[in-house]
Symmetry: C2
Subunit: 366 residues, 2 copies
């Protein structure tokens, strides 16, 4: 389902592009670089695919006097990627920016410029930048429960196992690149949790053992690495994914939507960084009423976020139950956090809320 | 050096306070609760102690009609702490706030109120709130290298070992409460690193193996759990601690200063949450010049941060080398990130910078 290239395939993709440029120049023709247009206007949502897809608009850059610098920067960045892949090294986006300081006239002045060129190469080669050797700064995602993560030491070839069931406290921290990880599990599902605090409660009380599951703390909007980890694990082990967030518009349209279908401004790589099999078992407006939860009033920003989603978000526009859920919340003008369940006892979430939710698929949102 | 109470000692401290209140009321006297004043004006820096210490001013609350609610909230919060300790459970600060929603008239309206009461109890009993069963939301701190962390499963009594040398990528994530962890290590020192990106590079290239050390990523200003973890590890294994931050005022006065001596507004618990043995091997103004690093201009906020520290920070006021370092940076009006070393090659930090710094104690800052 997801495209995973071997290192030599990435190197040969880079070489193909570079050879083409070289041949054109030797033949006194203008070389061109093409990549898909990265914008919401070039995106559609089809639930069969499960993520925001590109619809095919391309942008093409031709080597001219005015484009010479960007052209050179793109080729330099591709050369850096090739070097990283060949030496099995990685560079953060920030480091790649600093490496360019030695590229004389092709140096970047600000990091957003080098990030943009990196995104274009990613879209051009149709691989994610982690495979190209570029890693994000931010990580995020903590794992505990019925899972063993396996990685291979590139120096010794030894397989190293991380048994995530062996955490009384603490967790396995998801690395910034997860492409080479393997998994062993007998769990029945993955529970993706908004807050580290709730995750910690479920770890402490070994909820994963009772429910036979894998607990993953997203810590707010899940990072690329966290989404990719959940996706690869869910695909390979054919596990359902349940997302447990706060009952607010941020939890609905930012955290859950991004987990499930990806983000608007990274459409070219959503197919890798989304979890189409996710279902929502977080706090809904109906739960606020049924469980008599302590609430906070919606802010103006919350309400605007909801109205924007109802108008513009292709994911929300596709699912009636989400339109309903967002309208109900705007009408109630209240939100509640997952930790508000603590009003009924600190472990009410374990003894009552989660078992009730999981056993009643009608209470889920798509 | 650090005070670590057994669970039954905490319970009996709580009972002592409660008994005193009870006896006073039965004897028709006004009960009182006393705790140290938590403010910079009640603080001094003595390098022998190594952290910001309280100088002894107390605040006392007497039960009257106007203080009845706060008094009741304090006693309720102590009762919750007692319950948590007795049942070996934990609650986040957020959860404790929600639990109070069932305390009728004694309920808190906003979380800052319940956090304040928790801080007062912490200061009153002279233990940190993690020992009282209250854990922060935020975690932070990733560990890799020559260290095994040992925790005990409270259910089975089994000792569980986490070998932090077995990470090709990824890391051991520091839990929010670290009081009960034990350590095994043959490392020579601890390297505390500002960014996750730099940490990842050092893990990937097994720098810890070459240098025989423990790598800890702070991810910006270190959290309480991260500082406490480094402190306990450094104390128990008698290890020096070297901090490697960006060359900027935030790295100097926020990240490093907080790691070493704690923060101003949490003076009553700094003795647990500081690392007096830390030395600074991060990027200095002189390094920016010597290593010809790519820089960014200082912002007005940076300059103000530096001038404030020179004027008001008891730590900076104590150390001439820090005053010098801050003045030099303000004069140069430039800052540089630790990742700027990548200009000389991605692994220059491993082959040149760190070995040069570590072998030359004269280049360290106190």
């Amino acid at each position: 389902m997801t495209k995973k290239l071997a290192n030599n395939e990435i190197v040969s993709s880079i070489k193909d592009v570079a050879d083409d440029v070289y041949t054109k120049i030797r033949g006194h023709k203008q070389p061109q670089l093409s990549s898909p247009l990265r914008a919401l206007s070039n995106v559609r949502y089809d639930p069969k695919a499960g993520y925001f897809e590109l619809v095919g608009k391309m942008k093409t850059s031709t080597l001219t006097a005015s484009s010479a610098k960007t052209f050179a920067q793109t080729l330099r960045m591709m050369a850096l990627s090739k070097q990283l892949v060949e030496t099995n090294d990685v560079a953060t986006k920030r480091e790649a920016y600093y490496v360019s300081k030695n590229w004389d006239e092709a140096r970047f002045n600000e990091q957003p410029e080098s990030d943009g060129v990196m995104d274009d190469i990613e879209a051009m080669l149709q691989v994610n930048r982690e495979q190209m050797g570029f890693t994000p700064e931010e990580k995020g995602g903590e794992v505990a429960g019925a899972l063993t993560v396996i990685e291979t030491d590139p120096e010794t070839g030894e397989e190293i196992k991380h048994d995530c069931s062996r955490f009384v406290s603490g967790s396995y921290s998801i690395p910034s690149s997860v492409e080479d990880l393997k998994f062993e599990t007998k769990a029945k599902f993955i529970l993706a949790i908004e807050t580290a605090g709730m995750h910690q409660r479920l770890v402490k009380h070994k909820y994963w053992q009772k429910a036979n599951c894998i607990l993953i703390s997203m810590g707010g909007v899940p990072t690329r690495a966290c989404r990719r980890f959940i996706r690869r694990l869910a695909d390979e082990k054919k596990l359902p994914v349940y997302a447990f967030t706060d009952g607010d518009l941020y939890g609905f349209t930012n955290i859950y939507r991004t987990l499930k279908v990806g983000s608007g401004n990274a459409a070219h790589i959503n197919k890798y960084f989304c979890v189409p099999q996710a279902k929502f078992i977080g706090v809904t407006t109906q739960d606020i009423i049924d469980y008599k939860l302590p609430t906070h009033p919606l802010s103006e920003i919350d309400i605007k976020r909801g109205k924007d989603a109802l108008k513009n978000d292709p994911f929300v526009l596709h699912y009636k139950p989400w339109q309903q859920a967002i309208k109900e919340m705007i009408q109630l003008r209240k939100r509640a956090e997952q930790q508000a369940l603590a009003q009924w006892g600190l472990n009410y979430v374990i003894t009552d809320y989660l078992p009730a939710k999981l056993s009643n698929p009608k209470s889920w949102l798509p």
